[in-house]
């Protein structure tokens, strides 16, 4: 008991900085004309994703992302939206993971994944300015220069270089995740953020395929200091294709566990869905970077073990 009290008192400077970063983030989006929204954290269904297990709650689900609800707002004519809220992913616990975590999502009508990456570059600049620190931060013994633009590399090039194969040509999801974690991410420059772009079509998730090359998708992940910070899409706006992707995913999930129901309300709204870009950013990990914290436990007051 005493140990827990001491731990909480020890991480107080981190939680103070966390609050400051939240404030700066809200300020940034308000200043850019974004509307802050709140959507349910307990809902009838979630986006079916094979590798993300939702926590069930009396026949409903704790959301794994506010994505579907925020997109329903976009379909109703809302334009630039942002939200900071809690999301849940069953069983995800490690140095960089806690099953309950804080997600920042924002959407831009008329935007695409490249715009969302530029937004992230701007947001981090706003945060470093607000914290009164320069663009170079010190994280786990490395100096990281956050000055934009951040280096971009395609999944194809990164994998050819670090793992010796092309995941766009050959689909191998198991090998992909292993090589990403063990070979590709460790090769990223520790001194700069890395934007990993153009995921193979099979890993498009809710992103649209590239108009000039349907074997790749307009999806990007941002890595800083070895941490996966954010996942950006040019949002898929094709109801037929989205319905098919959900059906495929549900079929695969059914082999392992009870799949969530098809998100009908979302699919119905999609008929009115505008061209847009969206991105989800892990706030806890962002705070880890600015607190030089090696473990997510250092930047959240309570974890799954102490909650």
């Amino acid at each position: 008991m005493d140990e827990e009290r001491l731990r909480l008192s020890r991480i107080k400077p981190n939680l103070e900085r966390r609050a400051h970063i939240m404030e700066l983030t809200r300020g940034f989006f308000r200043h850019c004309g974004f509307l802050e929204v709140e959507t349910p954290i307990r809902a009838a269904t979630v986006a079916p994703e094979l590798q993300i297990s939702p926590v069930e709650s009396e026949g409903c689900f704790l959301i794994t992302s506010p994505e579907l609800h925020m997109k329903q707002l976009l379909a109703a004519g809302y334009e630039n939206l942002f939200q900071i809220g809690h999301t849940f992913r069953k069983g995800e616990r490690g140095r960089w993971h806690n099953p309950e975590f804080t997600m920042l999502e924002w959407y831009r009508t008329g935007g695409d994944y490249l715009q969302m990456i530029r937004d992230t570059e701007d947001l981090l600049q706003e945060i470093t300015n607000g914290l009164g620190i320069g663009p170079v931060i010190s994280y786990q013994g490395c100096q990281i220069d956050l000055t934009p633009p951040w280096p971009r590399v395609t999944v194809r090039d990164a994998f050819r270089e670090a793992a010796g194969w092309d995941p766009v040509l050959k689909s191998n999801p198991v090998r992909f995740d292993d090589d990403l974690v063990c070979k590709v991410i460790p090769r990223f420059s520790p001194a700069r953020p890395t934007v990993l772009m153009d995921y193979p079509a099979a890993m498009a998730s809710l992103a649209r395929l590239k108009p000039d090359d349907p074997t790749q998708s307009e999806r990007a992940e941002i890595f800083i200091g070895g941490l996966e910070i954010a996942n950006a899409y040019s949002e898929l706006a094709d109801v037929k294709e989205q319905t098919e992707r959900f059906a495929r995913e549900i079929k695969q999930i059914a082999q392992e566990r009870r799949p969530p129901p098809t998100p009908r309300r979302f699919l119905e709204a999609m008929a009115h869905f505008p061209e847009s870009g969206g991105i989800a950013l892990g706030m806890d990990r962002l705070v880890m970077l600015f607190c030089d914290a090696s473990c997510i436990d250092e930047v959240m007051a309570f974890t799954v073990e102490t909650a």
Binding site: H97, P173, N231
Partner: protein, 190 residues
Amino acid sequence: MAIEIGEVHKNSKLLINGVPYNVEEYDFMKPGKGRAVYRLRLRNLLEDTSLDITYHSGDKVEEAHVTSTQMQYLYREGDHYVFMNTETFDQYMLGEKKVGNKKNFLKEGIAVTGVMMEDRPIDILLPNFVELAVIETAASSKTDTRTAQNKTSVLETGLTIGVPTFVNEGDIVKIDTRTGAYVERITQKK
């Protein structure tokens, strides 16, 4: 017993192809939309070699059945250390490599916990504190006033540590085995 990889943690003992390993490092990493990857650094409990291995969620691993027994350290014989089970009086030997830095705290007669796999000793756990005699101290230098603890001394096990200047040869001191640091003086030489 087979367990899910998700139930493994640091210092779990695993059996891989019949060889027991201790989990030295354990990392869980999950790409946003991908499968969880568990990266383990394992130490072979019999040969003191290490092994890096990758698992995925859902994978099962075999847990090594490990027990602990109260033992007493008897003496050193060549490059082996001899221990005795204090209940059955059975004697066990552990190689120098397995004992490693723990030899710095092994004084004849002290109680340790033996980590056993089936009937083989694979490791020992030291008490948190041991009391050792000082056999040699450097002459304290009057010009060195940086700290109170500025005198190196050699203990009966051969361990060299820093002690306060008031500690003399023949004194018994208490040492923290986890940090190797001086804690306090227990008795003064008469």
